[in-house]
Amino acid sequence: MLAEMQRDFSDWLVRAGDDDGLRRGLVATRGLAAYQNNYRTQLVNVLRASYPQLKLAMGDEAFLQLAIHYIDRQPPSSWTLDAYGADLPDSLQALYPHNPDLQELAWIEWTLSEVFVAADAAALSPTDLDGVDWETAKLRLSPGLRHRAATTNAMAIWSALQDETPVPEAEMLEAPAGLVAWRQGFISRLRQVDAIEHAALLSLQEDGHFGALCDALAERLGEEPGIARAGQLLAEWIGSGIVVGVSH
């Protein structure tokens, strides 16, 4: 009986349709609307809170339609409401299939919220690097590190929205690039990187060895420039907290 009621109540919340079946089991039914209203209002509000800049970029009405599309297709399942908006890009893809800028803007916002509560990692200290044999050294990336390919100027749009400066028109990037998000201490970081750095991070995530990264960059850029770029990237990654450990 209890399971049936909970199944029917859940179906009714999700479908917002006929509530005759539920009403038969209730003494007073006028309060049912409060539950339906709470359910939908809460989900719209959490999407607004998760994607504030996407909402600004799209406008309130377009964002509301996006939220309704998503809520109708994606009932929440996680124990935490914070996880609810994870698949909003699916609805963006359905409603705006020709707007990769919106997809990338959504990725930025969602990823930064994930990074914000990712596992902590202590920064490397100079003494951690004493005596490292870089040929065999394995680099450990920040546990919160996320990345994806970038095709549009979404990061410039996000930054302008964030800083309340004039927002540029959406446009495609002249060359493929990557977006990288991570946390340095308690500060969430976001950077647009060129395709070489993005590929380097990808290979490092798969293999971890700095020597293999040097080989890959040498193959791509030539021996000397490749090694030089690997060294420059390593220094930047350690300085910015993208690399948080070196084992040897």
């Binding site: 399971a3 039914t29 409060a34 929440p76």
Partner: protein
Amino acid sequence: MPHANPTFDGYGLGLRREHYRDFLDNDVPVDFVEVISENFMVDGGQPLDILRRVRERHPVILHGVSMSIGSADGLRVDYLKRLRKLADTIEPLFVSDHLSWSRFAHFNSHDLLPLPYTEETLAVVCRNIDMAQEALGRAMLFENPSSYVSFAASTMAEWEFIAEMSRRTGCGLLLDVNNIHVSAQNHGWDAQAYLHGIPADRVRQIHLAGHTQGEDLLIDTHDQPVNDEVWSLYAAATAMFGPVATMIERDDAIPPLPELLAELTIARSLRDGHAAVKEAA
């Protein structure tokens, strides 16, 4: 039986983001703080660090909203493991959640939905409480819900259900006085009878909050100051349940901290006033 809940006499507030700075920088005059457990069941980051730092100054109560203790298909083990990890880190005064359900199968409504008060529900809720208390290695508190519908199938009053639930599982009670008022108004219950039906020795904490008058019903919004009717009911409750952890619970339209501290002062004076009257008698 897991470790019983301690008794604690004091006044506290919900720790909300808007007041993090106040709690980190100042000696806020509260005896404890309460946080929403799920906000801190994360892998790391600043919020968890802030909670650890506040914990160095104040006892903390972990108050959950997603355990779904009334789910007919049981509790989620991954949720319990995360809550246990947080509790082991924070060493809270109490761990609490609501007498309600939110989840069925893979759907989670993220609302505190009402239960029919039947023997079947009692068996489900007690089984789930046993599982939760076992997983956490400690007794929990459960809060009376506010509700907007009631079930024809119910065979007992809410307070009778709560009393029996507590007796069977050993759990403590978090009495939300505003919820009693809201549900009593919405369903035509007698709030005084409700209070009298609660086993006094099980009450460990009291919540005070505000609500909103909807079109037909009172809605438990937690975005208003505590109103006079709830203060009156609190005065009656404190006369019955004595010194327990008492707090103002504000979840929306969060005011500056001094406004909430002023409400706590009212709570103190109502209880002290009652104690003075009792002493004089």
